[in-house]
């Protein structure tokens, strides 16, 4: 019986070793190709985007109205009939939600002589965290650059809301049976897929929103930085943030002054998720021993806390 098992074990071990060598060899040979496809993806060549120029925006909120019309949402409230440029139409800082896919907020910076207005909506990341986080694949990154969402497969777990570095996906709570995520879809169905610019871009009187191919928009942005030195803070928000976004921003002041989150990592969120997942097995293997050790230590301290030698002993026991 014992011998049989041993023979069996020897046989298995040998084949296992062979297999392991083969697996390691395959893994090594495959590594570069896998890396280049996963890490060096910088978006589709056909990725469209929008360049938002804060120095041009006058806060009129035409883009908000156009967006809600395009998507059949209620018109935004608090609009002024005879709007005067740079006049705030609200005080609070709003977030896009299930009733408004885009909002324009006002920011006051000591570095700028008049209020700044920043349009916020989905940035349509090149490597979207929401897409990566969704385990039923409700999100799609289209070759045109839009990150779109399919409510028919969504199970309502809201992981995407947590994953998004810009906190954009919003959950529609008002209908219990038709709950779904709501966010800017780059007007994909009605416009982008037909080669038309999004509704907000077309409505903007100041051309604060410039629509085009993302690579071209980066060139335009750099041209503005070069041609009008002094007008802009010399960075393009979205060029690298979260691994690069389709919507890019130019601002006259450092971005944090105008309500941007400058702590957003420059790598795609995907990379962090991978690191985090790698940490989990480590936690599972180390933590039980660690906590058992702490528990025993505490217990031994309680029963006999007069000698250090005993404590050392108990430590040894745990290590074994």
């Amino acid at each position: 019986m014992k011998e049989e098992t041993r023979r069996g074990t020897t046989f298995t071990r040998r084949s296992l070793l062979k297999g392991m060598v083969a697996a390691v060899a395959t893994a090594i040979s495959m590594r570069p190709s896998r890396d280049s496809s996963a890490h060096d993806f910088h978006g589709y060549d056909s990725n469209r985007g929008v360049l938002v120029d804060l120095t041009r925006c006058i806060g009129c909120r035409s883009c908000e109205v156009a967006c809600s019309q395009e998507h059949g949402l209620a018109p935004p409230d608090g609009m002024l009939e005879n709007y005067q440029p740079l006049e705030p139409q609200y005080r609070e800082t709003r977030r896009p939600d299930h009733q408004a896919f885009t909002v324009v907020n006002q920011y006051q910076s000591p570095l700028y002589d008049h209020p700044l207005f920043k349009k916020t909506q989905c940035n349509h990341c090149l490597e979207p965290a929401c897409l990566t986080a969704c385990f039923v694949n409700a999100y799609t990154k289209t070759p045109e650059g839009a990150v779109i969402y399919n409510e028919s497969v969504c199970v309502g777990c809201r992981t995407c809301m947590v994953a998004c570095p810009f906190s954009i996906p919003a959950f529609r709570y008002d209908s219990a049976f038709d709950a779904q995520i709501m966010k800017c879809n780059f007007c994909f169905d009605t416009r982008l897929s037909k080669g038309r610019p999004p509704a907000c871009v077309e409505a903007c009187p100041m051309e604060a929103l410039t629509f085009g191919y993302r690579d071209e928009l980066l060139k335009i942005a750099r041209k503005r930085l070069r041609d009008l030195p002094g007008r802009y803070h010399r960075e393009i928000y979205g060029e690298f943030e979260a691994g690069g976004t389709s919507w890019l921003y130019l601002s006259p002041v450092p971005f944090e002054e105008a309500g941007f989150d400058t702590r957003v990592p420059r790598q795609p969120i995907l990379h962090f998720v991978k690191d985090f997942l790698a940490v989990v097995p480590m936690v599972l293997t180390i933590w039980p021993g660690l906590f058992a050790g702490i528990y025993l230590l505490a217990k031994s301290n309680k029963t006999a806390d007069n000698t250090t030698s005993k404590e050392d002993k108990s430590d040894e026991t745990i290590e074994r």
């Binding site: 002024l80 005879n82 709007y83 038309r196 077309e202 009187p205 051309e207 191919y213 690579d215």
Partner: protein, 170 residues
């Protein structure tokens, strides 16, 4: 929905039209320039905007709006590095360079041509507002409010909120 925007872009195509005849202004070019220009590219939504060309001619030199096509070197260093002397073009109206639909089709692809310099030319609506408002706000003179220039058309056949700017209040 789609029809509205289609109509809008069509409306935009009909631009600067009526030139009210008047006395020719004495300019550096000694060329007949209109005293009043009605900008009515959005005439399906608003009454035309009456632009007092003569008044502005007395405030600013031609190049400040017409860049390098009005016979003088441009005031903008980004233009004058190539257009050194300026040309006297037959057509000097805004819409002949600033397109009514700057974000459509071929132009987007054409901008990807590496040898193209003019990749950042604003569309017509952008050019008007950036130029007019830019000056009016900087000099704190001249109209700046939406309705100061754009008289709302009272047209019941218009869909609600078509202008994309204001909530319909009626």
């Amino acid at each position: 929905m789609r029809l509205e925007w289609y109509q809008l872009s069509l409306g935009i195509i009909v631009t600067i039209c009526s030139f009210v005849a008047g006395e020719p202004l004495a300019t550096e070019l000694n060329r007949k320039v209109p005293e009043m220009v009605v900008l009515d590219s959005l005439s399906n939504l608003y009454e035309g905007v009456s632009f007092d060309h003569a008044l502005h001619d007395s405030y600013a030199s031609c190049v400040e709006c017409h860049h390098h096509v009005a016979g003088q070197p441009s005031a903008d260093p980004a233009c004058s590095s190539c257009h050194r002397s300026g040309t006297v073009d037959i057509v000097v109206d805004c819409k002949s360079c600033h397109l009514t639909d700057p974000f459509y089709g071929d132009l987007l692809s054409a901008k990807r041509n590496l040898s193209r310099y003019h990749i950042d030319m604003t569309g017509l609506i952008g050019a008007y507002h950036l130029n007019c408002l830019g000056c009016h706000l900087a000099l704190t003179t001249g109209p700046t409010g939406c309705l100061d220039c754009h008289q709302r058309k009272r047209n019941d056949s218009l869909p609600q909120g078509i202008n994309g700017t204001h909530e319909e209040t009626e």
